[in-house]
């Protein structure tokens, strides 16, 4: 679409567009502005958008990974650094696993004619319908009790000897425990999206590869995967977004060593001092999604429309 080719329109449309843009960005700007203000300035509200920015809130939030001790702090209470690392580990690994498993499943469903497409979309939709809150109770119970290894013998004992820690080896409180839930939660959606991309891959290409002696896994990884890159990009952004932003299940499963950033935010959202700090934490959490929006909006829109229109 060339820039010069716009139709001339009623100026009211430009005003409308400007207002909509302002509305979608406004709260984010407020978040950013507040994260750089002192608490007193936030609550007294002087200055509007013109104020002396401070990085103090960020220092407070990041105190556990800073190389110096911020002067205004009595001790380091908010351990954002640790939570941030946990969030990254959990979001990246669960995104990678979801994509790998999801691709393979979607491919099989399309190519090997497992079930009718209707059945698949119906069942993915049915699974997608399950709210995380419904999973809260059983996952909490299973991860803390049933999915545990006794620490007295066998694998459980080995894990305790090697990695330390106390009690039976349970899924709860580990990164893997949270990752597996996220993978399961995201798979239906990813399978659904990727199917619509895989359908478009010409079968002849795969057959040509097979004639050349490639096995089914080689065909899949070397021929199909490169062709559905846009779908993969979209799917990975959506999966990452959920794994990165999710609070409820993580809060039930994480312990103090595996706590993610959203938990940190909710835990500290109602504390007396630290309004600015909590905005700084929120801003840090919002950075990856903001980057995605700015640099991959096309993929996001493709993913959204593929999910709804083609499903």
């Amino acid at each position: 679409m060339a820039d010069t080719n716009y139709d001339r329109q009623n100026p009211a449309f430009y005003v409308l567009i400007a207002i909509l843009i302002l509305m979608s960005v406004g709260p984010v700007i407020i978040l950013l502005a507040n994260s750089m203000r002192l608490d007193v300035d936030i609550t007294s509200g002087v200055g509007g958008l013109i104020f002396m920015p401070t990085i103090r809130n960020y220092e407070t939030a990041l105190c556990d990974i800073l190389w110096y001790e911020p002067e205004h702090l009595r001790f380091c209470q908010i351990r954002f650094g640790g939570a941030f690392i946990n969030s990254i580990i959990i979001a990246l690994i669960s995104t990678a696993l979801t994509l790998i498993f999801g691709c393979m499943a979607a491919y099989a469903l399309v190519r090997f004619k497992f079930m009718g497409r209707d059945t698949v979309s119906l069942s993915t939709l049915a699974v997608r319908m399950i709210p995380p809150a419904v999973l809260l109770v059983p996952v909490f119970g299973l991860w803390n009790n049933a999915f545990c290894l006794d620490n007295d013998y066998g694998l459980g004992a080995w894990i305790r000897d090697t990695f330390g820690g106390r009690g039976d080896v349970c899924l709860a409180g580990t990164h893997s425990g949270i990752i597996i839930v996220y993978v399961a939660m995201n798979l239906p959606f990813v399978i659904w999206i990727l199917q619509s991309f895989i359908v478009q891959v010409p079968k002849s290409l795969e057959e040509a590869a097979r004639v050349d002696g490639a096995g089914p896994f080689q065909v899949f990884f070397l021929v199909v995967l490169p062709l559905i890159k846009p779908g993969l990009a979209a799917a990975s952004i959506f999966t990452f977004r959920i794994a990165w932003n999710e609070y409820l299940l993580a809060s039930a499963l994480a312990d103090r060593d595996t706590m993610t950033v959203p938990i940190l935010i909710v835990n500290n959202a109602s504390e007396f001092d630290g309004l600015g700090t909590i905005f700084a934490t929120g801003m840090l959490l919002a950075i990856p999604p903001i980057l995605f929006t700015l640099f991959a909006s096309r993929q996001i829109i493709t993913g959204m429309t593929a999910g709804a229109v083609k499903g």
């Binding site: 979608s24 960005v25 609550t43 809150a133 809260l136 059983p138 909490f140 798979l187 999604p289 429309t305």
Partner: protein, 307 residues
């Protein structure tokens, strides 16, 4: 090709979903018939039959939560559909700034719900919130004073409205973008034909565009409705479910029952009620979808024949 290959491809996904989705759901069904405390292993718990379900049936707080959930979900979906589709119809044209809007419009959906809750709680704050500051400013002008405009106790007196606003902000773009995509993929021939026949803008929208978009709109609405029942974090951070029970949606009540009251059995039964409700809604929407699809196919066919 080996006969087992398809199974190998499906196995990892199936295994994970079985372990972390289907088994837990089954576990929840089982647990809902038990007097279950988080400190116990479920096999040590007492079987109580339908006691949890019966108790909820007579629990006024549960029903209030139930109705709050329905009011919230349907209000946001209806309002978002109207605004989203309306904007799409209005802005479906080649116009400067649209690409920027499409990019930035995604922002609200991408940001973590806990952060959205945080910002909106601030904006709705009684004394230093953005909205009340704005209302105060208007109230200080002579005409604002005349109209009696002043600060509103958003989270205290209008809590449900406040969380609905936040959700509309976050999710209207979703509907806008999907309807825009649907609009742009409509058969141009049908629209041309209508224009040649002298249909006004409204007539085009009402008799051609909307019916042709219907299947996509129904799916969009269904997705949005499903997601509206999943909303939790925004409300948790904004109001914590209060004041009273005015914003305590079912998801929040489930979480509270499980974690604060430590009644896992009851929470499981509540989860089951929620699941049943969603199942009914989804099936209903599916039937509706079939109907609109058949209708739009007929329409498309007719339009193409005419064109």
């Amino acid at each position: 090709m080996n006969r087992s290959t398809p199974y190998l491809f499906i196995a990892p996904a199936a295994l994970v979903m079985a372990l972390a989705l289907f088994y837990p759901i089954g576990y929840m069904m089982w647990g809902s018939f038990r007097d279950w405390d988080p400190t116990q292993n479920i096999s040590e718990t007492e079987f109580v039959g339908f006691a949890n379900y019966v108790r909820l049936w007579g629990d006024a707080f549960f029903w209030e939560s139930f109705s709050v959930t329905l009011i919230f979900a349907f209000t946001v979906v209806v309002v978002e559909m109207v605004i989203g589709v309306g904007l799409a119809l209005l802005l479906d044209r080649n116009i400067r700034g649209m690409s920027v809007l499409r990019t930035l419009f995604i922002l609200p959906m991408m940001i973590a719900p806990v952060v959205v809750g945080l910002v909106w709680r601030f904006m709705f704050h009684q004394t230093y919130g953005t909205f009340n500051r704005f209302l105060n400013w208007i109230g200080d002008t002579w005409w604002g004073n005349l109209l009696g405009i002043g600060p509103v106790d958003w989270l205290g007196q209008n809590p449900l409205l406040s969380v609905i606003f936040a959700d509309i902000w976050q999710w209207t773009p979703f509907i806008f973008i999907l309807s825009l995509a649907a609009l742009q993929s409509l058969p141009r021939s049908a629209l041309e034909a209508a224009r040649i026949d002298g249909a006004t803008g409204w007539q085009q929208v009402w008799f051609i565009k909307l019916p042709l978009m219907a299947p996509v709109l129904v799916v969009t609405m269904l997705l949005r409705l499903i997601d509206a029942f999943k909303v939790l974090e925004v409300i948790l951070v904004m109001t914590g479910g209060g004041p009273g029970l005015s914003t305590e949606i079912l998801a929040l009540r489930i979480a509270r029952t499980a974690r604060e009251f430590r009644e896992l059995g009851e929470a499981a039964a509540m989860s089951n009620y929620l699941l049943m409700l969603l199942m009914l809604l989804t099936l209903g929407m599916f039937a509706f979808n079939r109907w609109t699809e058949a209708r739009s196919r007929k329409l498309k066919f007719a339009a193409e024949e005419e064109g």
